[in-house]
């Protein structure tokens, strides 16, 4: 490949470094001569839209499936909130159903909605377009990945209908209680949950293989790693984390399935129930916790890193300013990713481990705040003196920054053993993780959907509905979770089905009712958002090409919206990073990535 390039004798002018501009090649560089990827060209409806190998369609399939199961998760949370706010008025939820709702809500939202949406949905749609590839490197494997995900989701839904219902062991599925009688769903529900998770991991590994290798090997000419949009950096690092972390979940699932079905004792200690000794002996429940959180903590960043990346791009485009400290942003993403593997035991402070062990994990946890804070400063500095357009994506991005800072700071408190121990089992923790890994990434998901919807459909979402959606979601989320911090402070325990008249609850009754009402309103607004998505598909306002005047490649495909093969006859050649907005010396307001320096001779290079 290298020889081919030297044969072309591309003329490079002597670098004119004194002016500080991108001086070299005077002529445009020819597009890649490397043989194009062999693409599968769909012929029938079935291969085009159902068993499809085009990453764009697979991305949409992933996103729709994730949204559908996410709606079930949302409705489950309504049931829980009604029970907590108005236990007498709405008594349709028994204790068993309550725990099943908690479990399924948690698992669905973290894994089947957020992970699948960010990596499967946005990853599939954006990676090939943004790095300038025609498709993923293994389109067939990519298709199988989606179908595995769908089967995993169907198995999960099936657990609602088996005898005993879905598992109610909490989303962490801690043994021994998860598979012992007395826990709802300990008959079939838990088995289906474990099988579904294992299928998800296998399916994800197939997809992850594609995302990583496409980003590493299949970029277009000139797209160096340090010229990639931060969205891609975020998705890339998150996928690497997922490939290394999901095996831990897989291992834990397999061993627990065997404990349940074959009566092995991987995680099961000696147990007496109803005065009788069970056959289990010697297993370690703590081992499961270690395995689970070795997956579980990176999982937080698997959700957060793509959000970090996407929000950086949204802020830059909608504030018409380059990302402040691009290199530092990349470093921060990589460092956060690496650190996320050595903090897992901060979820286990109350498991009775050695205090020095806790001390180590508290330290690493606090260190992770440094790169995270750098990212927040850089977002704020990107906004500083930017030409901020208060479009809906920008509103959601601003909402994200505030919410993320909020949830992050409570995280600093909980990262310390001595503060975590009393707060660990209260609503403070619930408020913390919903803020930092529920609301904050969802803000980015919404912003990203408003941003890229025109690219996918060629139409804008309805702006009025969008504004309503943003304000209700933003204000509503704070109405739900701010009071929840306070409930935690006064000692209201989480995971309880009913509070009765315990002394610390009596002052919290009104707050709980308020939270429930807010949650219902916010939840309803999400259905409004779905209505907006489906109606705008055919009657939204037509969008012109590149409506946000962005620089990255996905907006500059020959067909708009992009079609099969993405880039028509020739792949684009990249000459710059995607953040050339308001470049000094240039008469253009923005310079897309594929514009050669010879076309914008006066533009000065900006230090990143």
């Amino acid at each position: 490949m290298n020889d081919e390039y030297t044969d072309n004798k591309i003329e490079t002018k002597a670098a004119d470094s004194s002016s500080g501009s991108y001086a070299p090649p005077a002529e445009k560089i020819p597009a890649q001569e490397a043989p194009d990827q062999e693409l599968y060209h769909a012929k029938s409806f079935w291969t085009k839209w159902v068993f499809c190998q085009d990453a764009k369609v697979i991305g949409i399939q992933y996103a729709l499936t994730a949204t559908a199961i996410g709606m079930i998760g949302l409705i489950l949370s309504w049931g829980m909130r009604l029970q907590l706010g108005f236990p007498e008025t709405f008594s349709f939820l028994g204790p068993a159903t309550y725990y099943q709702s908690v479990t399924m809500h948690g698992m669905i939202m973290v894994i089947y909605l957020l992970t699948a949406l960010f990596l499967g949905g946005f990853g599939n749609y954006l990676i090939p377009l943004m790095v300038g590839a025609r498709d993923m490197v293994f389109p067939y494997v990519n298709m199988v990945s989606y179908w595995m995900f769908l089967v995993a989701v169907l198995v999960l839904i099936a657990s609602f209908f088996v005898p005993g219902g879905p598992t109610g062991a909490g989303w962490t599925l801690y043994p021994p209680q998860a598979i012992l009688p007395g826990t709802p769903g300990s008959e079939m529900g838990i088995v289906l949950m474990l099988v579904s998770l294992s299928l998800f991991v296998i399916g994800f590994t197939m997809g992850g293989l594609n995302y990583v290798i496409t980003i590493l090997q299949s970029r277009t000419r000139g797209m160096t790693l340090m010229r990639m949009p931060l969205t891609i950096w975020g998705i890339f690092t998150a996928t690497v984390l997922a490939l290394l972390a999901f095996p831990a979940l897989f291992v834990a699932c397999i061993m627990m399935t065997l404990d349940n079905l074959l009566g092995t004792s991987f995680f099961m200690p000696e147990i007496f129930t109803m005065g009788e000794k069970l056959d289990y002996a010697g297993g370690s429940p703590i081992l499961f916790q270690h395995l689970f959180w070795f997956f579980g903590h990176p999982e937080v960043y698997i959700v957060a890193l793509p959000a970090f990346g996407i929000v950086s791009d949204l802020i830059s485009v909608h504030a018409r300013k380059n990302v402040f400290g691009y290199r530092m942003m990349v470093w921060a993403i990589v460092i956060i990713g690496a650190l996320s593997f050595i903090v897992w035991a901060h979820h286990m402070y109350v498991s009775g481990m050695n205090p020095w062990f806790g001390f180590f994990f508290a330290t690493t946890t606090l260190i992770i705040a440094v790169p995270t804070a750098i990212k927040v400063y850089n977002w704020v500095l990107t906004l500083w003196r930017g030409n901020i357009h208060l479009t809906i994506p920008m509103l959601f991005s601003l909402g994200f920054i505030v919410t993320f800072v909020n949830g992050g700071i409570t995280g600093l408190f909980l990262g310390n053993v001595i503060i975590d121990v009393p707060l660990s089992d209260t609503y403070f923790v619930v408020a913390h993780f919903h803020m930092v890994m529920g609301i904050a990434p969802l803000m980015v998901v919404f912003g990203a959907i408003y941003h890229w919807y025109p690219l996918i459909t060629g139409r804008h979402l309805n702006q009025t509905l969008g504004k309503i959606h943003f304000w209700v979601t933003f204000v509503g989320a704070y109405a739900i979770y701010f009071p929840m911090h306070y409930l935690g402070f006064i000692g209201v325990p989480r995971r309880y089905f009913e509070m009765y008249d315990s002394p610390y609850m009596t002052s919290g009754v009104g707050l709980n009712q308020f939270i429930t009402v807010a949650a219902l309103i916010v939840g309803f607004t999400q259905f409004l958002f779905l209505y907006n998505i489906f109606t705008s598909w055919y009657k939204g306002e037509k969008s012109e090409r590149n409506p946000w005047k962005a620089n990255s490649l996905e907006w500059h495909t020959p067909d708009y919206p992009p079609t099969h093969g993405n880039f028509g006859k020739e792949l684009p050649v990249v000459y710059r990073w995607p953040y050339d907005f308001s470049v000094p010396g240039s008469d253009k307001e923005y310079i897309p990535q594929h514009v050669a320096p010879s076309e914008v001779p006066t533009a000065k290079a900006e230090q990143t």
Binding site: S17, A23, I213, G222, M226, F250, G263, F266, D279, A605
Partner: protein, 211 residues
Amino acid sequence: MSKKELNIFKLLSQKPWEASQAAIDNQHDGKTLDLSKAKLGVRTIMVVSTVIFSLFVVSYSDRMLVHDWKSLSEPWLLWINTAILIFTSFVFHKAKIYSDKNEFEKAKNTLLLVGFLSFAFITGQLLVWQHFISIGQYASTNPANAFFYLLTALHSLHLLGGLFFWGRATTKLFTDNFNVTKTKQAIELCAIYWHFLLIVWFILFGLMIAS
């Protein structure tokens, strides 16, 4: 553009805004590593499998310290299976050498031998299972047994997955008009995977003997 970013620190400290770096970057062909995508794919799979088996090894080491651990006595059949697996790897290496030399007729025969040996290994493992079941050593009898069944099953499943790709490569050799480069690569990658599984088996078997 020949330089590939092997050093992540070097990569992250690039200064893309400098004219000299921009000149280099514009010529970049968009590949990070000098590897084919299939090779990188197999390597990624091997990394993920390594993580899975490492976690099992950690769990095994953690569990075997508990007093109720009664280690199995490895039957002689397990040593024969190990020998078969070593021989399989050796034969696969031969097959790779033949295909590198374009001697596809010989490669075809050695590949068939590989398939036979691999299935023999799996059958051998099943016989060991049968032996243990016949003497009343079930998975639930002792944690050592549970790990034995689990690890041998997972290892054999990995081998079955490899055999799927071995089948695709071998059937190609039976057609008249196959893509030589691609088939060679497929044979090479399968061989690497087989060596990988041999190393995994050494570690697992060593752990079982040591405990």
